[in-house]
């Protein structure tokens, strides 16, 4: 079938989100332009135990994957719950945005977003403890992401009586 689509419809899932990488080198117009032509996705909320193989299995269902870059904890060099998936074509990347975003991998609802393209160094977590910033002070216990937030002290909270696990 030919690809007849209502124009106002086809953009919702592939539109840019409000997130912008603050360490992007360039102004916001350039950044947006890059994002709009990108074939690379940021994938978030992964379990620390999810492997490149699993990510490949899921994301190759949207199209031919060029490469996967696992996000690593900058001190331990172990996966810290995110990755970049690069496709050969924009169309395949859009399919992933449409059909994989907010579905499950390794029993977790994962999130995909456009990325301006991988540059070396971005595979490392930017939190002070080495992982992702979002895992620094996280208050819930998430066994897939190393338990409590690294800089969050459950024992201390417990004493205060403020924590319900």
């Amino acid at each position: 079938m030919s690809d007849l689509t209502i124009p106002f419809l086809f953009q919702k899932s592939v539109a840019l989100s409000s997130y912008r990488d603050r360490q992007f080198r360039g102004n916001e117009v350039e950044q947006d332009k890059k994002l709009l032509q990108s074939t690379t996705l940021y994938v978030g909320n992964l379990s620390f135990f999810t492997t490149e193989e699993q990510i490949h299995e899921l994301f190759s269902r949207a199209g031919d994957v060029k490469r996967i870059i696992m996000g690593l904890d900058k001190t331990t060099k172990t996966p810290c719950g995110f990755c970049f998936v690069e496709y050969y074509t924009r169309n395949d990347a859009e399919q992933a945005m449409r059909y994989i975003n907010q579905t499950r991998l390794d029993d977790r609802i994962i999130r995909t977003d456009w990325d301006a393209g991988f540059i070396d160094g971005r595979q490392f977590g930017r939190g002070r403890s080495g992982g992702q910033v979002r895992d620094e002070y996280r208050k819930d216990y998430d066994p897939g992401r190393g338990g409590f937030g690294k800089r969050f002290n459950p024992a201390l909270e417990m004493e205060k009586g403020g924590l319900v696990v």
């Binding site: 007849l4 919702k12 947006d32 699993q54 031919d64």
Partner: protein, 949 residues
């Protein structure tokens, strides 16, 4: 107005997506001519493009237009949304946006407000009509082309307008007819169908005369009298009439009963005499039990005949026009009834590709649904109408899975129709559709997830019931469909914590291990493991099923694992050490050179089409032991992950280029890989992909390896075919890439050759099916990075560099590809941007480039043809061997699962790549599918040929 492209504005639909207002704000600079570059070919608003298309005629493939469009609007991006009403837009545009939103949204929510909405919209449009006539007519036409599921709502609106404004009807018809005529010339089948059905419905709102609808049908049906045209052509035009009759049958029978009956009689005669050879290859099941997989025209004709017997009374079509009887049908109505102008059907040409025939997928009947429901019978028109509405919604909303699910659940079927059963049936029908599903398989999986989320208590039970029924019918299900079933099911399970009542399938465990049910479970576990991990599968699988759980996907290093060291172990150890130390390629080569050359008898690898080694380079040829040692060690050291393996391949890419030359050597690489990774199917899939992309291994070597004796026992496993398909697809993409380049240059030459015109003989008319207007699948899009043609890397042709002056020219294959790409696009840019030098010089350069690309294309097509020849030849050899063996053992081959798995893979290759295979069909017919091969093989070929007959 025409080039302002306002339809993308406020892309969120109703402005409900405010999350990117920020970036909207930053993109004022982009407010300039833009049109949706990906979908522009359906929106003929740009006058320039319009002219372009007319010039190009039906031969013009749309991707070329896309390329041009992208060049012209290189900074444009279709995904950029702008804030509605912001940024100093003119009033005109604002109105256009509002109108578009209102018209597209009309009837989107099925509620009681529709009646008032229609009246209000009619009033608004009447007021604006003089000022914005062109825009209004344009948007209305878009609605007809894009939203077929709401066609009666639009025909009502148009009927109301016709009753209110005296000139509207004829103006509207003019636009409609010119769009229809254009669609006919360009063979845009979907649009043609939608217009014919819509025009039919206009007779219900007194805009079109019933006699002219009848004349239109007669014109279409007249194609049945054409001689020497393919059946698929006539089928299409007859189908257009059949899908329209539920809308117009009633009114036609009231006014022109005799003529209508004459028309039906002609159709009946045509349906009766049609050939049905193509049916078996398209059917999802080889058995007609419990439901016949009917041919689509046969089924629809049976439904129409039944409808005719019922005097055209049906209760499914929503016909809002009856609500406005006062306005539309009373004697004082101002409606002018129009006649259609004469519409001519373009004559047949051999280059035109018509839609393939289809079969009707049915998996439920009335006994499968709960008692309070009544599922319309197979030949009830209601069954067709609901299915059609579901299909249309899926198609319209396929880019937004959540909206799609919402729209599906909003369908209001008449009286007791079990909507969820029908939705599930249609979705599986699309997923299993042969040759290919209409959309990417993943979409259907994600849509089913959304439907489960929307109706958590009502939909999952139906889906479970459907899976059980599909499982029970696996024995006769086509292999391609079983594979899609496995792929979807594993994905679905992984979204529901792999919860499934496996115990219910315990009975089948005693079956033949190659039987479809066992294979299905085994392959499902395999895919579940790929989505999770080995222990996870062990955890969710009941103990009785353990024997079907795949092995742990660990590598096997034969030089280490055997108790008594095998020949080469000491070299392997040394190589491992060196590779771990990231030694230079020279060092590795030095070690390999010390490996004693075993006698030829020890290593003779017989492959039927092993290429002959150039005698002059014989002394430089590396033997199989050396290659095996290198490849095994390298993959073993890189076995930690995909990334590690890829890095290892990239680091020693140059060494591969020195070691590997002949096909025999290439096959050895694959064999060594298989020996390391027999337990990790996914690893093999990605490694072969990488080896082909980096040109270490050619496509034909992969094909020969797959059919080699070493892989004989694996041939019924799905991953083998995953590898073959992906290899064939890379070959196809390569051809298509060159083809597109050529088309690109061709159009540039056309533009720049106002003085000099290139000889028409230089332009191949029938290059690939992509030159036909109907091939518009998104899968056809080319990946520029996928280079695997030797012509791109002259390294192959060069004399082998001596080990000591060996330089690492490539850090990684991807870099290499990128560099190539950049270089090439820079070249391209240069050739395009030349405006200063005299025209002849620029043109000469283009001509030069044209010739180079033409040569590359010819070479790639030669390779492609060779690949298909190898694949088909090896299929025939493998199948014939098996049949002979059966005969000698006195076994009925049809009773073996093996024959099913392999012969249906042959069918699959034909179907999946029908566009490519059809180009070489005469070669295949004269060279390999000859009368001396077994009929069960030849039959597949004949059914395939019938697809375009």
């Amino acid at each position: 107005m025409a080039t302002k492209g306002g339809r993308n504005r406020n892309g969120g639909g109703g402005g409900n997506h405010s999350d990117d207002e920020e970036d909207d704000f930053h993109n004022k600079s982009q407010q300039r001519p833009r049109s949706t570059s990906r979908h522009h070919h359906h929106h003929h608003r740009s006058d320039r493009r319009h002219v372009q298309q007319q010039n190009q005629g039906p031969q013009q493939p749309h991707h070329q237009q896309q390329q041009q469009q992208q060049q012209q609007h290189s900074s444009y991006d279709p995904n950029k949304r702008r804030k509605f009403g912001g940024g100093g837009l003119e009033d005109d545009e604002l109105t256009e946006d509002k109108l578009q939103m209102a018209l597209f949204a009309l009837g989107q929510k099925s509620d009681s407000t529709l009646e008032q909405n229609l009246r209000d919209l009619c009033t608004t449009l009447c007021n604006d009509l003089t000022k914005h006539k062109k825009v209004i007519l344009h948007i209305l036409n878009q609605c007809i082309q894009l939203i077929p599921e709401r066609l009666t709502i639009y025909s009502t609106l148009i009927g109301l307008l016709n009753a209110s404004v005296i000139t509207f009807g004829s103006d509207f018809l003019d636009t409609c007819i010119s769009s229809l005529k254009e669609a006919l010339v360009l063979y845009k089948y979907e649009i043609i169908q939608r217009y014919i059905r819509f025009l039919s419905d206009l007779s219900n709102v007194k805009l079109l005369s019933t006699s002219s609808i009848l004349t239109l049908y007669e014109t279409l049906i007249e194609t049945t009298t054409e001689t020497n045209v393919p059946q698929v052509r006539t089928d299409f035009f007859v189908y257009c009439v059949l899908i329209s009759l539920p809308y117009s049958g009633k009114i036609l029978s009231e006014k022109h009963n005799t003529e209508l009956n004459r028309l039906l009689y002609t159709i009946d005669k045509y349906i009766y005499k049609r050939s049905k050879i193509h049916v078996p290859i398209l059917q999802v099941w080889t058995s007609i039990e419990p439901h016949p997989q009917e041919e689509y025209l046969d089924c629809l004709w049976a439904q129409i005949k039944r409808l005719n017997q019922d005097e055209w009374a049906e209760s499914q079509i929503f016909r809002p026009y009856y609500t406005y009887a006062d306005t539309l049908f009373s004697d004082i109505s101002a409606s002018i009834v129009h006649d259609l102008p004469t519409i001519t059907i373009p004559l047949h040409k051999d280059t035109i590709i018509y839609p393939l025939p289809k079969i009707v997928f049915r998996m439920f009947d009335y006994t499968d649904v709960p008692e309070q429901y009544v599922l319309p019978g197979a030949h009830a028109i209601e069954r067709y109408l609901v299915e059609d509405e579901i299909s249309n919604i899926i198609h319209t909303y396929h880019n937004e899975r959540k909206d799609c699910a919402i729209q599906l659940t909003q369908i209001r079927p008449k009286a007791k129709i079990p909507l969820n059963y029908m939705i599930i049936e249609v979705i599986f029908g699309h997923l299993f559709m042969l040759p290919r599903p209409p959309h990417v398989e993943l979409f259907y999986g994600s849509l089913l997830l959304e439907l489960c989320k929307l109706q958590p208590s009502t939909l999952p039970p139906v889906l479970v019931q459907a899976v059980e029924m599909l499982f029970e019918r696996l024995n006769t299900m086509k292999t391609s469909c079983i594979e899609r079933f496995v792929t979807w099911f594993s994905y679905h399970l992984s979204n529901f914590q792999f919860t499934w009542g496996w115990q219910d399938w315990i009975d089948c465990l005693d079956e033949n291990p190659e039987s479809p049910k066992i294979k299905f479970i085994r392959e499902t576990f395999q895919r579940c493991m790929r989505l999770s991990f080995h222990q996870r599968v062990i955890d969710f699988v009941p103990e009785q099923f353990y024997k079907l759980v795949p092995n742990k996907p660990s590598p096997v290093f034969k030089f280490e694992e055997t108790e008594t060291p095998i020949f080469g172990s000491e070299y392997a150890q040394l190589l491992n050490k060196k590779i771990k130390e990231r030694s230079a390629a020279e060092d590795i080569l030095r070690i390999l050179n010390t490996v004693p050359n075993p006698t030829k008898d020890d290593t003779a690898v017989v492959t039927p089409s092993a290429s002959t080694i150039n005698p002059s380079t014989t002394e430089l040829t590396y033997n199989m032991v050396q290659i095996d040692l290198f490849v095994s060690s390298l993959l073993w050291i890189g076995s930690k992950s995909f990334t590690h393996s890829f890095a290892a391949l990239a680091k020693y890419h140059q060494l591969f280029k020195i070691l590997i030359e002949s096909e025999e050597q290439q096959i050895q690489v694959l064999k060594s890989m298989y020996e390391i990774w027999p337990n990790h199917q996914q690893m093999m899939v990605v490694l072969v992909d990488k080896l082909v992309k980096t040109q270490i291994v050619e496509c034909s070597a992969v094909a020969n390896w797959i059919f080699s004796s070493e892989l004989g026992s694996e041939l019924t496993n799905f991953y083998v075919w995953e590898i073959l398909s992906s290899t064939i697809e890379k070959m196809n993409r390569q051809v298509e890439k060159h083809h597109n380049e050529l088309l690109d240059l061709r159009s540039q030459l056309n533009i720049s050759t106002t003085i000099q015109s290139i000889p028409s003989s230089a332009i191949p008319i029938d290059i690939t099916p992509a030159s036909e207007p109907v091939v518009t699948s998104t899968e056809e899009k080319v990946s520029d990075e996928n280079k695997m043609d030797e012509s791109e890397t002259p390294v192959n042709e060069e004399e082998k560099p001596k080990p000591n002056n060996l330089k690492r020219r490539r850090e990684s294959d991807d870099d290499e590809e990128d560099n190539n790409e950049e270089q090439e696009s820079a070249e391209k840019l240069q050739t395009m941007q030349i405006t200063q030098p005299p025209m002849d010089e620029a043109t000469a350069k283009l001509h030069e480039k044209y010739e180079i690309v033409e040569e590359r294309l010819a070479h790639a097509r030669e390779q492609q043809k060779k690949l298909y020849l190898i694949v088909f030849q090896r299929f025939i050899m493998t199948l014939s061997d098996f049949l002979n063996e059966c005969e000698s053992k006195n076994v009925d081959p049809v009773s073996t699962p093996w024959l099913k798995w392999i012969i249906e893979r042959l069918q699959e290759i034909f179907l999946l790549y029908h566009e490519q295979v059809f180009q070489y069909v005469s070669t295949f017919e004269s060279l390999i599918f000859t009368s001396d091969i077994d009929f069960c093989i030849l039959e597949v070929f004949q059914q395939f040929c019938a697809l375009r007959a």
